[in-house]
Assembly symmetry: C2
Homo-oligomer: 201 residues x 2
């Protein structure tokens, strides 16, 4: 929130609050690309005027920032909740992986936008840094679990966290709520592959 106007004034036209506005805008960004989307195009999709959008946000970039924060705040909240628990690193790693699957499914449009960010502005650079920090934290859990003797030491601790997050993040390209199983089922498959592999015991 970068505005201090009262909520009643912030509303554009009846039918959109700030949350609903963001939901539409993130879909338009994902469909046409953020850079190729003008405020005019957003207004057209929303069926309101550009100035009605400016009642909610100060710029297109603020819409981007709000969208990226939505995904990153959720991911970081998952990590923080798990980090606080008195569990071995290997168990925290599994919980973080399951949590990231859950966030991806619940916030799919926001995570999709996040994964396309390439660092073209301050907002994008900050988002990339937060995304990299999350991957680094996954790497630290792996390293700690290696020290504990719970995770094999004959794998690259640089490549492994990136491969694991790549496995989870690929879901934006193929996960659909029907036909594949719910998020808990996919989280199970992710956790089983990551920790124990596909091979039959």
């Amino acid at each position: 929130m970068t505005t201090t106007q009262p909520a009643a004034v912030r509303r554009g036209r009846p039918g959109y609050d700030r949350e609903q506005l963001l939901q539409v805008c993130v879909e338009v960004f994902n469909q046409h690309g953020y850079d190729a989307t003008s405020m005019g195009k957003l207004a057209e999709h929303l069926g309101i005027t550009k100035s009605a959008i400016y009642h909610h946000v100060s710029s297109k970039e603020e819409l981007l920032e709000l969208s990226l924060n939505r995904a990153l705040d959720s991911l970081e909240a998952e990590y923080d909740a798990v980090h606080a628990r008195p569990l071995p690193a290997v168990e925290r790693l599994e919980l973080v992986l399951r949590g990231s699957v859950r966030v991806l499914v619940e916030q799919m449009p926001y995570v999709t936008l996040l994964l396309r960010v390439r660092g073209n502005s301050e907002v994008e650079i900050t988002a990339l840094q937060r995304r990299r920090r999350f991957t680094r934290q996954v790497g630290e859990l792996i390293a700690q679990a290696q020290d504990d003797g719970d995770i094999r030491t004959d794998i690259s601790a640089v490549a492994a966290p990136r491969l694991l997050m790549g496995m989870v993040n690929s879901m934006v390209d193929w996960y659909r709520p029907t036909g594949i199983g719910g998020p808990e089922e996919v989280a199970d498959t992710v956790a089983k592959i990551a920790l124990d592999g596909l091979r039959a015991p």
Copy 2:
């Protein structure tokens, strides 16, 4: 190759043969997005005229098709080579995963372009179909290895091949030849995670 002109005529200006032209064009597509790249922009990056590009190809879409075929032909060649070998499905699965890591590293710009295709034209739809067929073939190897008793049956055979390919494909976002280890080292990590998981034996 959609032209039958002799090679000498196909060359634009001294300095580019068709292969080198493609190498530059795929980088420009990846940097600016295929849709946002005009033939004029390609000519500018190449330092030649548009008509010099038309000595090599008939359209921008032909450049896209040649680029996507480069990635897909390589992937399919890996699959075909492995498929012909008299090995248990679980071993063929491992070889296909290792082969796809190798193709990704060797053809990274072409694979990067392939992974961004969303089906906006016939060429893109065909490429998506070929990409999906590859993933389906990985799924068939998993199913066969499950029948053989070599791969666990308590995982989703729909999600697993997509997660595995997602793990490999994520490399376009983070793999660099230095600092991470060579392709064989990353292929090792992929194969170990996929088959046996991270957990210490």
